[in-house]
Amino acid sequence: MVNTLVTNYPRFVVVEYHQQDAYAKPWGEARGEFYNIWALGIPWFAYDGLWDAWPIDTYETKLQQRLTVPTDVTLELSGAELAADTWEFTAEVCVEAGGIDKTMRIYMVQALDKYPPAYSYSRNTFQQAAATEDVTVAAGACVEVVRDFTFDALSMASPDDIRVMAWAQQPLDGIPAEVHQAAQLAWPFVEVAFADGFESGDLSAWSATVP
């Protein structure tokens, strides 16, 4: 089901956290505590930090509903190579003019897709997280959060499967904590996006590929 959703919905970012197995990471297990997942057990799915999406036959309709909820936050993620295995990522978080000033906790994580390979449901398995940062953004303004990731040998063995995600979430201690906006980049971290101005209707700089 998740594979189908990833394929069919471009505005959909997935991070998978293993729990209490050989692929679990301390940050990912702490994330499970953040959502109090063990009250219901796994598998457990949060959409935009709000609720468990179980049961599986409702995943798609709940995603469709969530996609229609307006947001006044934009998030653009970009990467710059510092070394063969180390990249600097910048998350530019903005609140649109006409939106509402807000404080958000900015998360940035690295995942490895199709890992572990023995399991068909493996998608974007969490590998490491950067330090979060709480930012206050006024309507019409932007802030940048910059973080470095060094990819380990496991990730560098499959660079095409490296993913970096960022999201802007309410700065709370647990669920529900709404995610206002999310973004994802895939190796080699050329932004899969449109030239500046496209969303506001300025098509003058747009082309099939971002220069």
């Binding site: 959909f12 209490q20 930090g49 996609l67 649109e96």
Partner: protein, 41 residues
């Protein structure tokens, strides 16, 4: 490839026009985050 890109561009342009016509005060496209907790055991 060019035809495909042009088609995608036209579709998105139509979506942008619809959004403007709807008069949304805020019009950012939401990207939905799913956080998925599971285990292999």
């Amino acid at each position: 490839m060019r035809r495909h890109s042009a088609c995608v561009g036209a579709t998105l342009l139509a979506m942008a026009v619809i959004a403007v016509a709807a008069g949304d005060a805020v019009a950012a496209d939401r990207v939905v985050l799913m956080e998925y907790f599971n285990a292999t055991t």
